[in-house]
Symmetry: C2
Subunit: 195 residues, 2 copies
Amino acid sequence: MPKIVDRQEQRRRIGAALLRLAAEQGLDQVSVRTVAAACGRSAGAVQKYFSTKEDMLVFAAEMAGERIEERMALVDTGLPLRQALHELILTTLPLDEERRAEAAAQLAFAVHAAHHPRLGAIRRQVDDDVKQALVAWLETAACPAPAATADAVIALSDGLALRMLYAPEQHAPLLAALDHALDTLTAVGRQVGGG
Amino acid sequence: MPKIVDRQEQRRRIGAALLRLAAEQGLDQVSVRTVAAACGRSAGAVQKYFSTKEDMLVFAAEMAGERIEERMALVDTGLPLRQALHELILTTLPLDEERRAEAAAQLAFAVHAAHHPRLGAIRRQVDDDVKQALVAWLETAACPAPAATADAVIALSDGLALRMLYAPEQHAPLLAALDHALDTLTAVGRQVGGG
């Protein structure tokens, strides 16, 4: 089915252009016209693959969600809990150009999701998947309150990324804050779990 | 100087309309035209007070920043640390319509700030002020690592608000996550500070 494969590949290229544009200029600069320009096509050519701007946004948000889950799968779960959590969160923080682009797009979608039910549904699904995986790690390490800890880790990670995007001069103190928060969140695990 | 006072009052009314619009529909729906419509004026009448959309955004972002600092000032700092932090964070979470509107506008500005240096400068100033006040609370309670704890509390608060906006069904587990994170962050203070 070369045609179907090609169609999906074309959609992914347009989605990637949308994510780059959102990362570089913000989601308010995203339209069928600007995305088309960013990937060297006409608006009509883009509309062959996405009939509305919202369809295009939803597709790109799904691509962005997949990347989070791919990154999560790359973390060595054989590592001690504290270290595995640290590695995972570092992959989501805007500490270089690639992660900056991803974090900017993710957070723009998250804010947009408050007003767009389809984007909200995608974010909630990604959060649920990440939370479920974190809870499994935390349970394996006998950390108490695994669900609450997982939600706190997700919130901490999003909040740090948000601030790092507009305050790059704060990267060092914010990384220190991450270290401190993970020390305290996983220290409770060691005390109560007896590890 | 009644004219100057009136001018400032008119600017604040337009700023408030912008914040409402950003909260209800998102910052991508904000323009001189839509803000003018939201406060029953012509675009020309709004432009008498703000020459560009960016000037209007910056003014509204400053208003939003003032509200955070006003709220912070209302928390009774005579409360035990854990309780004072909890009360402060609850004022920033979208748990009713008023706080939902404020959180939505704040987070929209935060994401926008990554691409707009003037908005970034306002956010950094507000963060610095909040951090300084939190550090003073934490030091009074003999909490170790006050700077790192303050940054972690700010990140946690932003991250929880972000997710609550698009996942209202998660309010209860996210409040449990807040409780757990504050327990662990301030428990370290009790152990090391000996309080």
